[in-house]
């Protein structure tokens, strides 16, 4: 009969299951968001739609951060912080939440809130956004959360399979993302620059040209007009800290067509200049999508191709042997593929088939058969009455 404690335990389990299901949904949404974030830049979605994506990114990272701290809190209560962080892969929960919130989604939202103000005095904040661009690649670390989905996959029910595939996926994704971060940083230092290097180099040269000579607003405007004739990416020029001397469009156009991350900002010799950075963003977004899809495909390959293989080779034979050793009435042999009979697990299975089961069969004939009926089954129907 159910006791009060059992009922509370059942309720807690249901709440835990609901929480886990919610996290799985958020993981899937987060993956879709990571893709759409780059895709929206690449295909030129409207600013309004991209604003929604920035807010959604913040919500996702906040949820993951809350999840991380909740798990950390319960681990702390149990006195198992180290176990949570390392054995239960709490470090993945951490790096796929807190740093992304602090260095990606939160600054992006702050920049969004600043809006057109960027053009009227907060230009230096755009330098922060350059850092954000460098760490955007780290969003792919959210993919590591996919390992949490393994337990729901048909072939990975065993803890061994889940753990093994999680380790492989974690190593692969972490190494790739770490390398991309390093590559981005090296790109920033000009060592491993990509397609954007000549583009940004030209804008830097043009910014330098704008800073040459007098910082008088009229002179800056004159140089900007000259430059704008052959550089369509020049948007705004002004003496540092002063009002705009020259602009290609009016402010309302910028509000409706640009987000903070779409500008390239330079400040040289007392002249600030803003260039259209969207072509660079599009190139980076394209790289991001290619990289994201490559990692996603490799993770899916682990799940869909490697996981069943691992189950067939390792965990299925072990499961059959375990049941045979635990249950008196379960005497099925392990299926041994002929070509692979010499592999360790199948060697063990051969001994199980040829020695253990015949001995078990002899033993079972000398004693009463163990019952298949469990006391819980009796409790269950008695409770229903």
């Amino acid at each position: 009969m159910s006791t009060g404690q059992e009922m509370v335990g059942d309720r807690m389990k249901k709440i835990g299951d609901f929480f886990e299901s919610l996290v799985v949904i958020v993981i899937i949404v987060a993956l879709a968001h990571t893709f759409l974030d780059d895709f929206s830049i690449l295909v030129g979605w409207t600013v309004a739609a991209r604003r929604w994506l920035i807010w959604a990114g913040l919500v996702i990272d906040v949820i993951f951060t809350i999840e991380f701290f909740t798990r950390l809190y319960f681990a702390l209560m149990r006195g198992q912080v180290t176990e949570y962080f390392f054995s239960e892969r709490g470090w993945i929960d951490f790096i796929a939440s807190v740093p992304l919130l602090l260095f990606n989604s939160l600054p992006s939202v702050l920049a969004l809130l600043a809006g057109a103000g960027l053009l009227t005095g907060l230009g230096s904040f755009l330098n922060v956004l350059k850092v954000i661009k460098a760490v955007r690649i780290a969003r792919i670390l959210r993919l590591l959360r996919v390992v949490k989905l393994f337990r729901r996959i048909r072939y990975a029910r065993s803890l061994l399979a889940q753990k093994h595939i999680a380790i492989i996926t974690t190593i692969s994704v972490t190494v790739l993302v770490a390398w991309m971060l390093v590559a981005n940083l090296l790109g920033g230092l000009g060592i491993l620059a990509g397609l954007e290097r000549p583009f940004l180099g030209a804008q830097r040269e043009h910014a330098r040209y704008l800073g040459q000579g007098s910082a008088d607003p009229a002179a800056v405007a004159a140089r900007a007009r000259t430059l704008a004739a052959f550089d369509p990416t020049l948007l705004v020029a002004r003496p540092t800290g002063a009002a705009t001397s020259w602009t290609r469009y009016d402010d309302s156009y910028y509000v409706t067509n640009f987000l903070a991350g779409d500008y390239e900002y330079f400040s040289m010799n007392g002249v600030e200049s803003f260039f259209d950075g969207r072509p660079v963003s599009q190139a980076t977004a394209k790289e991001g999508i290619v990289f994201f899809v490559a990692i996603l495909l490799s993770v899916l390959a682990y799940i869909l191709l490697y996981s069943p293989r691992f189950a067939l080779d390792i965990t299925d034979p072990i499961h059959v042997m375990k049941r045979g050793m635990e249950e008196s009435g379960y005497n099925l042999e392990v299926k041994i593929p002929q070509r692979r009979a010499e592999e360790d697990v199948f060697e063990l299975a051969r001994l199980y088939n040829s020695i253990f089961l015949p001995l078990k069969d002899r033993g079972s004939t000398q004693q009463e058969q163990a019952t298949r009926l469990g006391i819980d089954e009796i409790r269950s129907f008695v409770d229903k009455e």
Partner: protein
Amino acid sequence: MKKMDVRNDPISRFISRMFETPALRTLPALQKEEQALQFLRQNGPQLQPILASVGINTVAGWQGTFERLAQQIKSLSDGMLEREIFRAVEERLHFAFYPALDASRQPPSASREEIVALCRRSANHPVSRRALSGSLSAVLADVTDKYIPQIWERRKYTYVEITKVQRLSLNAQECADLLRFVLLVRPAAYLHVMPDVQTGLEAGFAPVQQQALQRAFHAVAAQLAATPPALVRMALRSSLPYPSTQGLEAIPRLATIFALRGRALTPSLVVDRGADSPDKSWFNIARRNASWRGLDPRMLDELYSIASENGW
């Protein structure tokens, strides 16, 4: 016996529900009974409060409660067993082998009733009752119909042993029917075996002493008056071990294997991914234990191949 009202009697209601649990629901009557009794023996003290909660009086102590429960289990399984015996004899057994064994003979009309009576008698003896569980399972699960046509198609060792060595001119259907007959008579070989005799093998499946078999033969032959004594003798010889019994015929050897297979049949067994099929697994284990169990290893080899090829 006075019929109890299942709805009002807590013991009847409890046992009926127990028989309907997923673990027991699909089992044949005698396996249900064994499992239920074993469960009660293993979980007695834990069960007392549960039994009390459904209105079963446990004041007299566990032993008294157990006896009342065991009585109800037997009563319920007897009812089911009666239906199983009827199904096995009326629906499965056709006596198709009679004309083939002796062209002039037709199956006597009394044979069917006599075999039903013999099965009932076997069911009332503790050792024969166990033997009957394997035989009935094998007959009702159509084990013979599954394997005999394959044996006939292959025309290998078992076929040669039956048709050339034992010299039985039977087709596959007739042979399968003969085996069903042998399986149903076989438990009677244990009618004179004491339940507490330690043989190292399971009661109802251990080889019978020649003396006990002789006594059983006279009793069974008298009961199956309409059946030729040679047929009865052959059926009872399926309780003898191979190869230590001189001239043990192929049919009794095969019947013993099928009876043991029937005993181990688990209707609701879920075959896990990575596991071999139930029949293939069983025959492979049985052929490794063939000499210990007194079974014909070459027959087991052939049955193993058949199971393997057919994915059984």
